[in-house]
Symmetry: D3
Subunit: 63 residues, 6 copies
């Protein structure tokens, strides 16, 4: 029944998400004692133009 | 003032969302004693490539 | 696989949540064509001191 | 370490988001005593066809 | 109709939240052109034992 | 900059969360190519009385 939500900047590949889903599910199952079938992983791709730190949108940051 | 957030795989039609909004709002108003105007429903369409159960992305699952 | 999240001010009874879970699940199953077992409903109770509209915390609102 | 999530109907410009990120970060830093670098602002654009109040999707509302 | 969600470590006072609600609502209304009544601010207090950066729970971090 | 949110039924120990934070951060850093310092993990403990599947609150489920 765990729900894991992963928010990252867009640009991760399908292969990276597949690998993350596999490894995080394994960690949750092993450590929190649940089943893979009960574990949901949701990825949310955030555009850099929708994410700010330091008061500045990441899409506006140089370097 | 209730906020209801519905996450589903993408592919639901506009008519399905309109019907869900109507019925869920009615349920919340009747059961939780609030008003339709104070009830917000937000739909989030999740791509199958962003959703995993059993450690596998739904877009990679056969059958 | 739908996940429905219901945020309301704290104070709803267990019976109200049970009834909401039953009715919303039924609506989602019927309208969005999924199964009850695949439908997750999560309630979040928000204290009035953590909720503002009109720029004022609900716990500070008179009337 | 504060995370601020702003959900609005789509249509806000980049300039509006940049200004919101700047002002909200400043408010959080000043009032909650943290640093700009530790403050994350995430914007989520919600389509009117995914948002209902009064039991009706905003995209179906006239006037 | 904007919903702003502020996640912070627990420990902020009621006065700090009231001031944040006031200032953030004002910013959203002015910059995004909406009304105070349509602007919802929700605060979520996160325990340090439920928050990790660098792979370590904040409650376990020294200094 | 990834934010990982883990929702589980309440009852996981501090040690389980610490271990999950460590392992998930390691996975995110390795697979998504970020730094531990930029990776935030947030745990949310959900009471069984606030979680339903099959239309029934988990606290009301026998067996």
């Amino acid at each position: 029944m765990p729900i894991v939500r992963v928010e990252m900047w867009e640009g991760r590949t399908h292969a990276q998400k597949a690998e993350l889903a596999r490894v995080i599910t394994e960690a949750v199952v092993t450590i929190a004692h649940t089943t893979p079938e009960a574990t949901i992983i949701i990825f949310e791709d955030i555009a850099k133009s929708n994410w700010a730190t330091g008061g500045t949108l990441a899409s506006d940051t140089t370097a």
